[in-house]
Amino acid sequence: MDVIKTQQISSRPIEKVIVHPLVLLSIVDNYNRDAKDTRKRVAKDTRKRVVGVLLGTSFKGTVDVTNSYAVPFEEDEKDSSIWFLDHNYHESMFSMFKRINAKEHVVGWYSTGPKLRENDLDIHRLFHNYVPNPIMVIIDVQPKELGIPTKAYYDVEEFKENGTQKSQKFFVHVPSEIAAHEVEEIRMPFDEI
């Protein structure tokens, strides 16, 4: 895939993530349709979440997220190591998206959180197959405070100096902002979400 090659050539550590309003809108809409009304049998923090793929472009350390779609995702509420993400669905979907906009490629994935979970690192590892440096964005669909509802991360591998332990991966936060092209400038009142 030549897309990945060009990314590798110009691969700089990610410094900024720009999320477009269209992405936020579709994610919130997805969440409302799919996971909002799941009964709170478990603790509030662990309600059912929506997971999807982020599409966009990456240029000189800045990732521009312009499009997204949800993917079928299941996880076991009690055992976080049991999860299933339909990657065949993702591959078919992406190939269709590519036909309409060849510039957009996979830049990472999103979750409605609202917080990071234990299996996020494993899911992130899956996305390394599609993009060398994926980003993970948590979209807060029910924000309580003012501020942008996105939190972006990418993962970093830390090697122990004495080399005895297996390398561990960590999520590192990256500043994100909401920006739009002129045509996308619709008002997004966060308190109405």
């Binding site: 299941e74 076991d76 190591s81 049991i82 999860w83 299933f84 494993d122």
Partner: protein, 396 residues
Amino acid sequence: MVLEATMICVDNSEWMRNGDYSPSRFQVQADAVSLVCGAKTQSNPENTVGILTMAGKGVRVLATPTSDLGKILSCMHGLEMGGEMNLAAGILIAQLALKHRQNKNQQQRIIVFAGSPIKHEKKALEIIGKKLKKNSVALDIVDFGEEEDGKPEKLEALLASVNNNDASHIVHVPPSQNALSDVLISTPVFTGDGEGGSGFAATTAAAAAGGVSDFDFGVDPNIDPELALALRVSMEEERARQEAAAKKAAEEASSQEKGEDAQPQSDSQNATSTATEKVSDPMDEDDLLKEALALSMNIPGSDSSAGDAQMSEASNDDQELALALQMSMQDGSKESSAPSDVSKVLGDQSFMSSIISSLPGVDPNDPNVKNLLASLPGQSESQQKKDEDEKPKDEK
């Protein structure tokens, strides 16, 4: 032809390197997997199959349920062995994958290849089993490879907790010369699908193996169940007939000598057409007897009432004849014994000629009667020849 979505859990742990199944456990497992995939997709075009690996770095879904056989087979290619199998996680993730099947009408099924030791506790497996049962997922377990104390018990416990109306099965395959796929063909893992799927599986296995088949008559009941059934029934009928023949041995001694000469020709065709003959024989012999009786009475179109009248008349003359006629009049329920007795009656030429001569209005020299007589012994003599063959064997 059940509409099913299947997830196959493949064991690609270090234990699969072992060569006690030739060429290696992993290879035979891969063959078995491709066979199962083929069988499932053939039995119903809408069936979907998915694959996941349980060992390696962790449980990984290689293919979500799809009906594209090529994709599934390519997933199996280039798999690496390593790590330890995580049975519980594998089954649970398979269940999640099935939850997301596109066609909700499909039945859910998981097939697990358990080749390495199971580190889970029996209790944990039973809980998983109950969860599967709650979600109406059927489970097939193939227990092969590593034989560990308690492994069969654990797997049986798992099966018991999942099993709902016998939809789930377990197969224990010890190391042997036969390939895993050959052994699996004869099990409910395949035959649960129905005829079509197992037909595919059987033909490919027959092509591959080409050697000893474990089935009677050299016919795989899965390929052609009707033929296998017919052959089995004819064997049983033959045995019953031989027992009756042993009783009437002395009486038929004279007719057998005559029978032997005309024998060899009909013998070969009899061997091959036994199956088809069996079905038609009772009918033919009954009909022929009725025809003979009708002919003797010059009544066109034999009538059972005429036959009965004939019987009562004949009984006065000849007790043996009456016995034979009675037996021939019996229908379906005693089909196996009737042809044997009727054939005995017809085969005994001296007996036949005595019947014909005793019946009024029949001229033994009549060409029609002669033709009839000639055709009848042809069938029954072949059976007598077989009786003769069996008797020397019995005497030995």
